[in-house]
């Protein structure tokens, strides 16, 4: 297997300790939890998505673990502006704040709270189960461009996380690029549902939700591959990554870094485990493999 040279990397304007980021929505609700994940080997962390007003999220069940994935509908629970204080002890660390809003103005407002207090922003234009937010906006190229611009004009690195639940993800990626995104994150969860046959109703309180984990890895690889040919800005691969080989595969599809979420369910020390296999002192530069599958 390919081994990479260890060391800091800069992707989309954010400098990371390694290529492995904690994905948004996973163990990112408190500053202490984010700090723990950095200590456990994440090269950077993305926070829980923060919105313009506090939200409790959907009624439970909010998450169920499946054979090869996780199905969830949290409903964007977040403490809103109070989260600014959570990040104070993490100043100068590679912390990317995930934000959401219902309009470009709301995106701009939330980003404004964190300007100068975070390494960058990741726009959640992709949550599949929150009415009026996330994918509801992220499926419309015009809105994606406007929301991206509302944040990118503030001058901080602006990543845009895309939903795979669209006919052509490259059209959305191009819209984010036009709006001034410094990187694309692909992908968010795949819209999905399970039904309890015993209770004769959908398992999730919200009825449907988003599927993550190994089950969606092939979907994510395909999306990253297509985006690599469509946009010039860097792509951060996300979706079902659980091993060093998955990271290498994502990079060959075109990713410059990756985000890992569901795999922490099996093992909270997954970052150092993957890093232990991915890096070697005599390893090669990631540049040699990023996008090599397109040749």
């Amino acid at each position: 297997m390919v081994a990479l040279r260890p060391g800091k990397v800069t992707v989309g304007g954010v400098t990371l300790e390694n290529h492995l980021l904690l994905a948004a929505g996973v163990l990112g609700t408190t500053g202490a939890s984010l700090s723990r994940m950095l200590t456990l080997g994440a090269g950077g962390v993305v926070t829980k998505s923060i919105g313009p007003a506090p939200k409790d999220g959907h009624a439970g069940p909010c998450l169920v673990v499946l054979e090869d994935g996780i199905l969830n509908a949290m409903g964007l629970p977040n403490p809103s502006k109070e989260f600014v204080d959570e990040l104070a002890p993490l100043a100068k660390k590679p912390v990317v704040v995930s934000i959401f809003g219902g309009t470009p103005e709301e995106f701009g407002e939330v980003a404004g709270w964190f300007t100068g207090k975070a390494a960058g922003f990741e726009l959640n234009l992709s949550c599949p189960h929150a009415e009026g937010y996330g994918a509801a906006i992220g499926s419309d190229p015009g809105l994606v461009e406007a929301c991206t611009r509302a944040v990118s004009r503030l001058g901080a690195p602006t990543w845009v996380k895309l939903t795979p639940n669209v006919t052509d993800i490259t059209a959305i990626g191009k819209a984010a690029e036009r709006g001034g995104a410094t990187a694309i994150v692909a992908i968010n969860t795949v819209k999905a549902m399970r039904i309890s046959t015993g209770l004769r109703r959908p398992v999730l309180g919200n009825r449907f939700g988003g599927l993550s984990g190994s089950a969606i890895f092939p979907v994510a690889v395909r999306c990253v591959y297509d985006l690599y040919e469509a946009v010039k800005i860097p792509i951060i691969g996300c979706g079902g990554i659980a091993s060093a080989d998955n990271v290498v595969e994502m990079m060959m599809a075109g990713a410059r870094a990756v985000e890992i979420g569901s795999a922490v369910q099996g093992d909270v020390t997954i970052f150092s485990k993957i890093a232990g296999k991915l890096y070697a002192k005599d390893g090669i530069s990631a540049d040699e493999i990023v996008g090599c599958a397109h040749a």
Partner: protein, 254 residues
């Protein structure tokens, strides 16, 4: 990973334990370690974490929407169960167990496992003492009530004064957080916080260590996965006894 969908169970029996607490027995056992919990899905309302009071029962205090809806379901009704989750109490042979109110629920399986030498049982008033008769058959029970209607008038921490704490290899504690914080201060003073096991309660969404809604400050440890049982030394300089978080993640004082 094994499939973790909620297991549908039928409630077979309901017992009113105290004016606000009921035990619900279901038709499927969930083999577990004392102190582990399950996520209880009350269809149409919500899903909440609950300690198992036996392999096929939960003992619940009516406190909010989900518990009220559960009280309304009754015998013959169906609910969903995910779990068991969390670490549970470590093995011990000579436990001192300290319970306040509905906190006796996760401690009953520990007493049934025959490893509790003494149980300090506290409640506000006599009719809120939980599992008094059952515990009496299993171990040596000493009682305190806030209003003095039974046992010593006052808190369980006062009962600790009359015990030789060195006689126990471990202490297990579950109850209201204010009471547990008082116990932590006492065991810290005596230098035995590291062998005192506290069962914590925090707002939870996923139950499997992914969402982060139950993480405690400043360690970032997950109550659902790294806990819910923590030794006192891990809680000394923490949010424990001071604040917790609501569903949105905002802090609220205890």
């Amino acid at each position: 990973m094994p499939e973790g969908l909620p297991v549908p169970v039928t409630i077979q029996r309901v017992k009113q334990e105290t004016p606000s607490v009921r035990t619900f027995w279901f038709d499927t056992p969930f083999p577990s370690v004392p102190g582990q919990f399950v996520m209880v899905w009350v269809p149409g309302t919500d899903e909440i974490p609950m300690a198992l009071s036996s392999e096929n029962s939960i003992t619940v205090q009516k406190v909010g929407d989900a518990t009220s809806a559960l009280f309304d379901i009754g015998e013959g009704g169906k609910i969903g169960i995910r779990g068991p989750f969390g670490n549970g109490f470590p093995k011990g042979e000579k436990y001192l167990a300290i319970a306040g109110g509905v906190g006796a629920a996760p401690l009953l399986p520990l007493a049934r496992a025959d490893c509790v030498m003494t149980m300090l049982l506290g409640a506000r008033t006599e009719n809120e003492l939980l599992f008094m008769d059952q515990l009496d058959e299993l171990t040596d029970v000493i009682i305190a009530t806030d209003d003095g209607t039974l046992g010593t008038k006052g808190f369980v921490t006062q009962l600790m004064e009359d015990l030789n704490l060195a006689a126990y290899d471990r202490i297990a504690v579950c109850g209201p957080e204010v009471m547990m914080r008082a116990v932590l201060a006492k065991v810290d003073e005596k230098g035995i916080a590291h062998k005192t096991e506290f069962s914590l309660h925090r707002y939870m969404k996923c139950g499997v260590g992914v969402c982060g809604s139950c993480c405690i400050d400043p360690s970032g440890l997950r109550v659902c996965r790294d806990g819910p049982v923590f030794t006192g030394d891990k809680l000394l300089k923490s949010e424990f006894g001071h604040y917790m978080r609501d569903a949105s993640g905002r802090k609220k004082n205890i």
